[in-house]
Symmetry: C2
Amino acid sequence: MNTLEKDIVAKIKSFAGPSTRAMHLRLGIGDDAALFAGRPGQQTILTSDWFLEGIHFLRDKHPADAVGWKCLARAVSDIAAIGGEPRCFLLSLAIPKKLTAWLREFLTGLKRAATRFSCPLAGGDTTCRDQILMNVTVIGEVPGDQAVLRSGARSGDALFVSGRLGEAELGLRLLRDASSSRPKNDAALKRHLYPEPRLTLGRWLSKKRLATAMIDLSDGLSSDLPRLCSASKVGARIEAAMIPAVQVPSESKLKGSDPLLLALNGGDDYELLFTVRPRHVRFIPSSFNRILLTRIGQISAGRKLMLVRPEGREQILRASGWDPFRPGR
Amino acid sequence: MNTLEKDIVAKIKSFAGPSTRAMHLRLGIGDDAALFAGRPGQQTILTSDWFLEGIHFLRDKHPADAVGWKCLARAVSDIAAIGGEPRCFLLSLAIPKKLTAWLREFLTGLKRAATRFSCPLAGGDTTCRDQILMNVTVIGEVPGDQAVLRSGARSGDALFVSGRLGEAELGLRLLRDASSSRPKNDAALKRHLYPEPRLTLGRWLSKKRLATAMIDLSDGLSSDLPRLCSASKVGARIEAAMIPAVQVPSESKLKGSDPLLLALNGGDDYELLFTVRPRHVRFIPSSFNRILLTRIGQISAGRKLMLVRPEGREQILRASGWDPFRPGR
């Protein structure tokens, strides 16, 4: 290891966030691998996510500390979607040789996220590359019989969603629209830059056995609902009028944006979409820790995905969320 | 998920190798995350490794099935270096949209490796990108008190290495040297393309409590020995004449290559470097499952790393193995 790599690894170690001496993490960074002692009765949750310059973030648009926060937050969101708790993560990082200031800011954001989610850095891999590449693996735990899968929905289940949808997409548009003045405390921008995985909500729904199926909205409702339905071998019917869509401020230059389209197709919200047996619907409050919980439709037999338009017309829901493989992207 | 991504994920699932229904893997690909039930009394080993086009492999030189084999083999080697056994892995893959034939071959090699190492695919992430990027996370297990760390070496311990060093580097040179005729069964080339992590040896050394510290040689002896010594806060003295260096065939166009330099600085051998207390040296056989085991030196107090040249002169060992951060690379 030469001075430069040593320096980078030392920086990563010192910025890693909560102590890696946590009870369940026996060996952190600096050996061939990390050692993790699972708690009795718990299953280990494993998830990996790309976070790549040019696809998931733009170096000239996204602040480095937001890149640090978000690369961990979005992987942790997969743990929330199972109903688990994060335990530690591995960071694989490839960066250009001379990005010292960027790295410092990135690690500041990463550390804030690691502390917030009680998820210390356990290891990973570092190399250099012209573009910034990240891959984050999060290790979580969930009590043996409490994992909420995508596949548990049944016909008749009510379909719920947390939060307001489309806010992160509106934030992305604000960020991209160089001409717009963007106040740093803009709520939508914050939602895009510093998403909050719904860990407490996911854990509660899992522990109380209220959610029969669950997924986090990373690519947009119109893309993620089909995934849940496909895994459960069911269809769904959602009502546009019920969807808690982003409120586009009237003074915004983006006021032409259709809130419904933002809510259906906007990515990066990291809210939870979950199903509930009819007899349990009454146990779902209208908000949980100040996060809105909204019933937006129902699971149906057959495999059709239908959207009831605000004016009452039914149409087939088309997956139009984020998709890196879409032709032309 | 559009047809193209579905197709890629379906291909990955069907080529994944050993069954993901293995006892300890409760939920494989297709949900937000994978679920892994650790065995009682075992610690979970976590390791992530980059495998990037242009850094770790060349698309026009390395056969796709070798890329598939090697991306898993090198991550599994970190499990061997702890003395553990692999249990499952996550693959994050970014590929250009139209690399269908390449993907098929890649998955064939990956499946062969997954089967060989009893390490099924549990999940990951897929996206598209101009260049091929991979990140592999391997989850392994080791009995609670048997993990062999880098940090356990003490002054006086004997230093051993498995196999012959420099073979993979010679193989890489054969591959790069377009002018050389390269027989497909060339042993050195095979070592470079299809490395064999020393899982059985690592597990045996761990179980018998013979190795006090261990590391796998991924970047070359001159780079990896300092890592072991640094973690153990010791120095070492190795004898050039004892190092089991690659034999450069006299008919090879690369016959000018110095076997000692190949052995010291060549990467990708994935042999194990380990230390043994003096009283246990007699339990180390000269070969294990036909893999040569050679005593090449000794751990010393202080932090110096010395190389005794074949003619008897001592010199400081300089780290000259693989290093992506080296200026000019």
